[in-house]
């Protein structure tokens, strides 16, 4: 009896931790007050179990949209100079870069291509999944397949514009966490969406899901808008990328060399994969 409480306290810790561990293995998810009871960790489902997925070969058949070098040169010549990073990273590592995101990634890809080529990196592919939200990126294993196919050493992530008005912080954070796992430990830079002042929770949710030092919050950037009033204009993308490059070199988790491009309109040698969530959910 003298040591009863010591044994009981020991069992409290052992049983509580074991119960939470075992709960992670239960296939179903339970709700409490309309909230999902989360698990200590998530068991990855084998890829074979995911149905209705597009295959890598099908991705390869998707047409590539490329702006001709002449057009790009002409447009760029009218654009202001980017914000110059204060210092360059003393790292000559040449990365295989993959850009993943929604329509804003589509706008960013050519600017990123210039930065990559100028700094010795290779932009191997871009995924522009128009109208997609974190739900698509979380549930679909398309991104995993693309990563497997193109073997990047550094990933840029840029989505969220289609959900800046969302207020369900926990749900979005969970989606983002699921997507985060699909990066499979690769170094990455996760760029938050522009939001024009309407961001309620989305940047915070993504930052909480990602490694916060690898997340670049764009919520307070003031960028020139495109005529659709929704996306940045081309000068806007350049200013945006200038800020990202500055952050990448100075304070991001994985610093890579990203000095301003020596020139603009580098040849587009990357694979541009264009998807649309309206006709391809991905899961």
């Amino acid at each position: 009896m003298r040591r009863f409480y010591l044994f009981w306290a020991a069992l409290c810790f052992i049983i509580a931790c074991s119960a939470l561990y075992l709960y992670s293995y239960i296939p179903s998810t339970y709700l409490f007050a309309d909230q999902e009871i989360k698990k200590l960790f998530e068991i990855e489902k084998p890829v074979e179990q995911v149905s209705e997925i597009i295959t890598v070969s099908k991705i390869d058949t998707i047409p590539t949209y490329v702006i001709s070098a002449d057009t790009a040169e002409m447009v760029y010549s009218e654009i202001p100079e980017p914000i110059l990073p204060d210092s360059s990273v003393d790292d000559s590592t040449q990365h295989r870069v993959l850009l993943i995101g929604d329509s804003e990634a589509g706008g960013m890809k050519n600017v990123l291509n210039d930065y990559c080529q100028s700094n010795g990196h290779k932009l191997v592919a871009t995924v522009e999944w128009a109208s997609a939200t974190s739900l698509n990126f979380a549930k679909s294993d398309t991104i995993s397949k693309i990563i497997k196919r193109y073997r990047p050493t550094f990933v840029f992530v840029l989505f969220g514009l289609n959900e800046v008005l969302a207020k369900d912080y926990l749900t979005r954070k969970n989606f983002a966490k699921s997507f985060h796992k699909r990066l499979n430990g690769l170094p990455y830079a996760w760029i938050g969406p522009t939001n024009w002042g309407y961001d309620y929770v989305i940047s915070d949710a993504f930052q909480a899901a990602a490694d916060s030092a690898a997340f670049f919050s764009s919520k307070h950037l003031v960028l020139p808008k495109a005529t659709d009033g929704r996306h940045p204009s081309l000068p806007g993308y350049r200013i945006w990328m200038g800020n990202v490059a500055n952050w990448l070199q100075e304070s991001s988790r994985w610093k890579i060399r990203m000095m301003p491009p020596a020139r603009f309109g580098y040849p587009k040698k990357y694979k541009a994969i264009v998807l649309n969530a309206a006709d391809y959910r991905g899961y």
Partner: protein, 497 residues
């Protein structure tokens, strides 16, 4: 039932035991052990079970606990374990020598022992500070060195100094048993981030731990559960906003900066007091009582009272080993103020090797001196306490800005934003755009106004809950943490000091 059995089979069948054991036994810089790690909590449960078996065997119990503490330190700091053990052995021998010596020889041995302990702290914590300032003063070009700071070194160095000095002063006898001294130094609940335990408070308990009865059991679990909630739910949640604001103050309005500073005030308190609660709770389970480290400090009506209630183990250490030896209040008013300033400068410098910490310490030192000079002339009463409380909290929060900001420029930029770019619209916007955070800040602000006695009574009220239910409290707290935690749990703030 069938499903439960299936799940258990599946769970156990898919555990890669060999890999887990390898990861468990090895130190990982990416995943050092904290009290908040599930792997720690589970291991602690197993450890406690065998501890219960050995509880009545004094020598075995001590050896078992020392071994677990050393393993805990290894999982937190890796190879620095060897250095830590070396320091323990040498300090033990020094203390024995000091006790046997007399007169000047005794003084010399004490000085050598203190310098020996301090030398490790100076080597690991302050070289870049010294090099930077040497470069600045002498126009030299020394390159900064890349040194890993062993976790807890500031705490266990101060602990060993207090032991050496107490033996020198004759306040305690040096421990004859190396096992007892090693037990005192390595005791894992206070090892990596305090509280700084004094030998005179602890050595006497080592051989007679108190039995865990129902009340102590409930008190222990209460402290552990509240500590986990304070750290993982409140401090880490506030930390996300704090990190954003302190990273780029210019991106935020004056109001948002102001609330960022307020959030940091609460973050650092809940982070550190949460750690202390867990440490005290774990020690209680093992039969030992550590002294309280916080006593409702934000409810203080002046800065002197604040330092009696904030990080009590450090402030009393500074009082006993810096302020009083300097002369305390025995050498006239001016010297008293000067000694207060010096003491707080040491306190600031202890926190980190940068001028920001020195300035933070100086600001508190000046405030303490000012309060000492004028407090007799101040009117008294409840309203004065209330006004003094708001003034003290504002001052402490102001000082935290310099403590947290990455450099002086950032701190000044924050202050500039607060003064030049604050309007009432900021707070309305904050309320609507960050509603949960705003509610939390209002709740915590109201919580600081609740007297400490009321909180203590509420705490004691929980002891009426039957013992069996405390398991569910622990389970619910852990699930709550999983529910709201970040992907990456932030290390305790005081691990860096």
């Amino acid at each position: 039932m069938q499903q439960i059995i299936e799940v258990i089979k599946q769970a156990f069948g898919s555990i890669p035991f060999e890999q887990l054991l390898r990861e468990f036994m090895l130190y990982s810089t990416k995943e050092p052990w904290f009290f908040t790690e599930f792997s720690f909590l589970f291991t602690f449960g197993i450890f406690l079970f065998f501890y219960a078996l050995l509880f009545t065997q004094n020598a075995l119990r001590k050896i078992y606990l020392i071994a677990f503490s050393l393993f805990f330190y290894y999982k937190s700091s890796g190879p620095f374990l060897a250095l830590f053990v070396f320091q323990i052995v040498v300090d033990f021998l020094f203390a024995r020598r000091i006790e046997r010596s007399e007169g000047t020889s005794k003084q010399i041995w004490m000085s050598v022992a203190v310098l020996f302990s301090l030398s490790f702290l100076l080597y690991f914590k302050y070289p870049n500070f010294i090099l930077e300032n040497t470069n600045w003063l002498l126009l030299t070009h020394f390159e900064p060195v890349d040194l890993f700071l062993p976790i807890g070194i500031s705490f266990y160095t101060f602990q060993s100094i207090s032991y050496i000095v107490d033996v020198y002063r004759g306040e305690i006898r040096s421990s004859k048993s190396f096992l007892d001294y090693a037990f005192y130094m390595t005791f894992f609940p206070h090892l990596v981030a305090g509280p700084i335990v004094r030998a005179k408070d602890f050595l006497g308990q080592i051989n007679s731990p108190e039995n865990l009865d129902a009340r102590r059991y409930k008190e222990s679990l209460f402290r552990i559960v509240t500590g986990l909630i304070k750290k993982l739910l409140i401090a880490d949640y506030l930390g996300k906003y704090v990190d954003m604001v302190f990273e780029n103050p210019a991106f935020y309005t004056g109001g948002e900066n102001l609330l960022g500073a307020l959030a940091y005030s609460f973050q650092i308190y809940f982070d550190f007091s949460g750690y202390s609660d867990i440490a005290i709770g774990l020690a209680l389970l093992l039969g030992y009582r550590l002294k309280e480290n916080f006593e409702n400090p934000y409810g203080s009506s002046n800065v002197t009272e604040f330092w009696r209630k904030w990080h009590i183990s450090l402030s009393t250490w500074l009082r006993d080993y810096v302020y009083i030896p300097l002369g305390g209040n025995r050498k006239g008013a001016f010297n008293t103020y000067l000694f207060l300033l010096i003491t707080m400068l040491v306190g600031g410098f202890w926190h980190g090797a940068s001028w920001q910490f020195v300035c933070w310490g100086a600001a508190h030192g000046l405030a303490l001196a000012l309060h000492k000079a004028v407090h007799k002339h101040l009117p008294e009463g409840k309203w004065m306490d209330f006004i003094g409380g708001i003034f003290t909290f504002s001052f402490v929060t102001f000082c935290w800005i310099f403590f947290r900001a990455r450099d002086f420029d950032t701190a000044l930029l924050m202050l500039n934003q607060m003064v030049m770019a604050t309007s009432e619209v900021d707070f309305v916007g904050f309320w609507f755009s960050r509603n949960e955070l705003a509610i939390l800040l209002v709740t915590l602000s109201a919580w600081t106004l609740i007297p400490g006695d009321w909180k203590r009574k509420a705490f004691e009220g929980t002891f009426y809950v039957p013992s069996f239910f405390w398991f569910f409290f622990l389970l619910a707290a852990l699930q709550l943490i999983i529910q709201f935690r970040d992907t990456l749990v932030q290390p305790f703030i005081y691990f860096q000091f």
